[in-house]
């Protein structure tokens, strides 16, 4: 356990929003620490291996928020908070206390993974899940993949899979054709988005794209062998090696909840300055409303400016408001349909960690009662998967976040919490070299 270090601004999450916030705050003269859970900055959207080709905007954003200007700690997770703007951070397993003048939460989004019969079989992943695996080197050459999710992530993932040599049998979107037309007509008014959609669709042109489509059940012994799909009113079975499925994205808000921020179904509630109800705690990007990387980066800039007391141009605020409206429109268009809930049978597992089946849960409970009586959400993932599922299935709120937020050695965690408050003093230059 090392002594407490102080930073003017601590940014949590190194995706498009966090990178923009870290860069902006640094350019304003602040001493910034950027922490991220993964081995390399970029977030899920710019996840890469060393040497991978990244889009120009990703390369620029990562380079602009890099050492020595910014202190970057990868494989670092905020596991707890201890008083106003005191973060307990695990740096690759070593726990240390960080005090922050301001905090920018850029914790991104999670996939909404909804239960259905057979969803626990090996070979069934998230849509973002299979993309992350392929980007990390998974060989899918010749593998038969059914993609069945929701939202703009589907096409880029189909393109990634096709490029890696996979046989994408189907690209299924759960939202209805009518909803998509309404959304598409408006989204395509933006030429960049229209071009992107056409390019991605071309990259996976051999696979059929269908709306009103979702998996009913996955079947297999030791792993998935086939999936029965509902396609626009009829059922069809596909033999496959992988089923990648989700029901869209949900804001990741566990740390915000520990910090006392208000969170609703759209994510962390923020004001016009990207500030939460907790003074000095800002949020940017998907964690305060899923809206895509463009909006995330704009919010990151505003959060970075306001976290350092600067003033924001009204044109930037307008751009942000426009992206927020787009995000809300998108979330409404791709909202999970009722039929996704109706797939669940009595013996469908809801909580994967504790193997809690549907028929052991009473929808009239709340999340806390369910935890006490069935251990749902008490396992290793601490409800990251089933908390979202139960919110969608039963309307249970996810307001039961408890530290630690990640695996951490309990002795070093408790020592970090017992540390006295830091003495105000000059910054310690050696702390720039945090474990990477």
């Amino acid at each position: 356990m090392s002594r407490t270090s102080h930073f003017d601004v601590v940014v949590v999450g190194a995706g498009p929003a966090g990178l923009a916030a870290a860069r902006t705050a640094t350019e304003a003269g602040s001493r910034v620490l950027l922490v991220d859970q993964y081995p390399r900055p970029g977030g899920q959207i710019w996840r890469h291996r060393p040497g991978d080709a990244l889009p120009a905007d990703a390369r620029e954003a990562i380079a602009a928020a890099a050492p020595p200007a910014v202190s970057v700690a990868t494989r670092a997770t905020v596991v707890d908070v201890d008083g106003p703007r005191q973060l307990i951070v695990s740096f690759a397993g070593r726990v240390s206390r960080i005090s922050a003048g301001a905090i920018v939460l850029a914790t991104g989004a999670l996939e909404r993974l909804l239960p259905f019969p057979g969803w626990t079989l090996p070979g069934v992943t998230g849509v973002g899940g299979i993309q992350a695996l392929v980007k990390s080197g998974l060989s899918v050459s010749g593998a038969r993949v059914v993609l069945a999710g929701s939202g703009p992530l589907l096409l880029p993932v189909a393109a990634t899979l096709s490029k890696a040599g996979a046989d994408v049998l189907l690209i299924g979107e759960q939202a209805s054709a009518a909803r998509l037309r309404g959304f598409g007509a408006r989204a395509l008014l933006d030429p960049t988005r229209a071009f992107q959609a056409v390019r991605l669709r071309w990259a996976s042109r051999r696979a059929g794209f269908v709306t009103d489509t979702w998996p009913l059940r996955a079947i297999g012994a030791e792993r998935i062998e086939r999936v029965v799909m509902r396609i626009d009113g009829s059922e069809r079975s596909f033999e496959c090696d992988w089923l990648a499925t989700n029901a869209g994205l949900v804001p990741r808000t566990d740390l915000a909840q520990l910090l006392g921020c208000t969170v609703d179904t759209n994510g962390i509630v923020v004001d016009d300055d990207q500030q939460s109800i907790v003074p000095g705690v800002f949020a940017a990007g998907e964690c305060c409303g899923v809206k895509g990387e463009t909006g995330a980066a704009v919010e990151g800039v505003i959060a970075g400016i306001r976290a350092t007391g600067g003033s924001v141009l009204s044109s930037l605020r307008r751009k942000r408001d426009q992206q927020r409206r787009f995000g809300r429109m998108m979330q409404a268009a791709f909202a999970p349909r009722r039929e996704l809930i109706e797939r669940v049978t009595g013996d469908t597992i809801i909580c994967r960690c504790e193997d809690v089946r549907r028929d052991r849960l009473d929808p009239s409970w709340d999340q806390r009662q369910a935890k006490l009586w069935t251990r749902v959400g008490m396992g290793a993932c601490q409800g990251a998967v089933c908390g979202v599922a139960c919110e969608t299935l039963f309307g249970w709120s996810r307001n039961t976040v408890r530290p630690p937020l990640d695996q951490v050695a309990v002795d070093s965690w408790s020592r970090a919490i017992r540390e006295p408050d830091p003495e105000p003093g000059p910054p310690e230059p050696d702390e720039r070299a945090l474990p990477a």
Binding site: R49, L113, G129, A132, G137, R352, D355
Partner: protein, 81 residues
């Protein structure tokens, strides 16, 4: 990109040094990373460290998330299947 040797269930396997443990296991042909409390096979789902379905034993340490752990030369990986 250079290769490293990892041992998956004791079997040596050459893998690129920049892949995750999860990818090394999957490309090795193993699909069951762990057994659930009810005895069912499980494998990576979210691949971003949140679902904990890809937990394996790495160099004697249990509960390591394979999807966010880079491989290293000589690493001993045991699935819980």
């Amino acid at each position: 990109m250079s290769d490293v040797t990892v041992f998956i269930g004791g079997v040596p396997r050459r893998v690129p040094s920049d892949v995750t443990v999860a990818v090394a296991i999957l490309n090795h042909g193993t699909t069951s990373f762990r057994k659930s409390s009810g005895g069912m096979p499980r494998s990576p789902v979210c691949a971003m460290g949140t679902c904990f379905e890809c937990r394996v034993m790495v160099d004697g340490k249990v509960g390591v998330r394979a999807c966010i752990t880079p491989v290293a030369e000589g690493m001993q990986v045991e699935t819980m299947s």
